[in-house]
Symmetry: C2
Subunit: 290 residues, 2 copies
């Protein structure tokens, strides 16, 4: 299969124009949140809806999250990732839709699925789900990256036809390491320097060193596009394109920054052999059957 | 000398009420920035003045900063601290008032000194000065701390009668690791767990592990007081009490967050033997003669 999006080839990093649509349904009047939302997603690569879920719904999900985090038997699972240097500090739980019926229901909620179907204009499946619990005091940063870059190189996602949905379980303040987006960056594919080490994922889930763009490229991109800080109350939902550049700073406040992530992929865009790694990553990170 | 502010004694951390004034001149009408500024400093422990220095003044200081950072011969000096894991990335330059006449002039500027004299109501000297250049992309966090806690335990500062002045050389955005203050926290002394290792300063200037409060204390303090994020354009000046709890997150943006720090101490509050360390730290970190 031709590789339209080369990255980590060892060569000088390249910037490639996106060769895929952003919105696969060209009839913007079909957008469940209106044409303005469609236009914003197309131009900026994301839409943010404050308090799309009610405080009662979010309270129930927070209780569910606490159960999952406190369940010591779960820490033996490879789906459960702890903070670097703190094994009792759960940072991420993958496959949250399988561990929990309540989170599974979120992934099937029409407030989420209708917009996802409009964007991808295909049947969809969950490529990945996870609970990101960025703890207070010692929540580490996630460096800048495009998810698609990783999914393409390490998992074999062929095209940019996937969308991420983030449900805020706790308030995302400006000070507790909120997601930082580069609006409009989804229209360029930023190839990354270096090559992918074997079993890279075991390290990269804790700290990211490969699959990150170089300083010059980031400086140019952010001077063009700026930075949008995703802040809002619990229950807010962010939809963002798979190729949007994003990251987050550390969290030294006492306020955990907890979000549930759901990544939907079009069935026509199922994973093939990775474009830059010899061994595909495990199913819990990148579902191949879905 | 009696120790009113015990910390790092190995015992359970204590919270002690402040036993020193915040404003040493009780005639608030003497405050060069007005009685409201005096009241705010007294209650909150800080005052922030946007664009107190002009853009021309700041541009000249930025040029000076670039010279200092690019001067490779300076990197041999112990006053120059690099980022953890990146020796070519200068994070802090101490004694900036001695390395540079331009920064020395800032420390003597009446816009700064008049308020400092009002707060401390004594002759003053520079306890410490430094240039904090939090670089873009890889600027690490500073964990929560009270400067006085360190100065008392490691340097032998007897009383809370010192004030820090921060001049913003670049814009401090919400996203590039701005200083986070806990308003009102200067009225309590938060003793820290642990004891101080020998030559701790060599490590603590890069990453702070000792002299930091425990989670429970921070949670209570911040739930009472909240967090103030110090954001503003270049030329803005922050005055803050030596015992104000503060910290900052990491900086993954391309925008360096550069500030010049000047700490003024009252001559009546000169350093004595450290209250919790056997060997005082070097002069460039804590001037004993001044």
């Amino acid at each position: 299969m031709r590789n339209d999006y080369p990255s980590r080839t060892g060569a000088t990093p390249q910037i490639t124009s996106r060769r895929d649509p952003v919105l696969y349904d060209s009839q913007w009047q079909n957008c469940p949140y209106g044409e303005d939302a469609a236009r914003q997603f197309d131009e900026q690569g994301f839409c943010f809806f404050p308090e799309l879920f009610s405080s009662e719904e979010v309270a129930a999900l927070n209780r569910e999250m606490q159960h999952i985090r406190q369940d010591k038997t779960l820490r033996q699972h490879e789906e459960v990732i702890t903070e670097p240097g703190a094994d009792d500090c759960v940072r991420t739980v993958f496959d949250i839709h399988l561990f929990s019926a309540a989170f599974g229901a979120v992934a099937n909620d029409s407030r989420i699925l209708d917009f996802v179907h409009f964007i991808l204009n295909d049947d969809v499946y969950l490529h990945q789900s996870r609970l990101n619990y960025k703890p207070g005091f010692r929540g580490r940063e996630f460096y800048w990256h495009s998810d698609f870059e990783t999914w393409h190189v390490e998992d074999g996602m062929p095209r940019m036809r996937a969308v991420s949905v983030v449900l805020a379980l706790r308030e995302n303040f400006a000070t507790n390491g909120p997601m930082l987006l580069v609006p409009g960056s989804h229209r360029q594919f930023v190839g990354c320097p270096g090559v992918t080490p074997r079993d890279h994922y075991k390290q990269s889930l804790k700290e990211q060193y490969f699959g990150t763009p170089d300083d010059k490229v980031l400086t140019d991109l952010i001077s063009q596009c700026g930075i949008y800080s995703v802040t809002g109350p619990p229950g807010s939902v962010l939809f963002f394109d798979c190729n949007l550049m994003h990251g987050s700073s550390s969290n030294i406040t006492p306020h955990p920054r907890s979000n549930a992530f759901f990544v939907f992929n079009a069935v026509s865009n199922r994973l093939v052999q990775p474009f830059g790694a010899t061994v595909p990553r495990p199913e819990f990170i990148a579902h191949r059957q879905g």
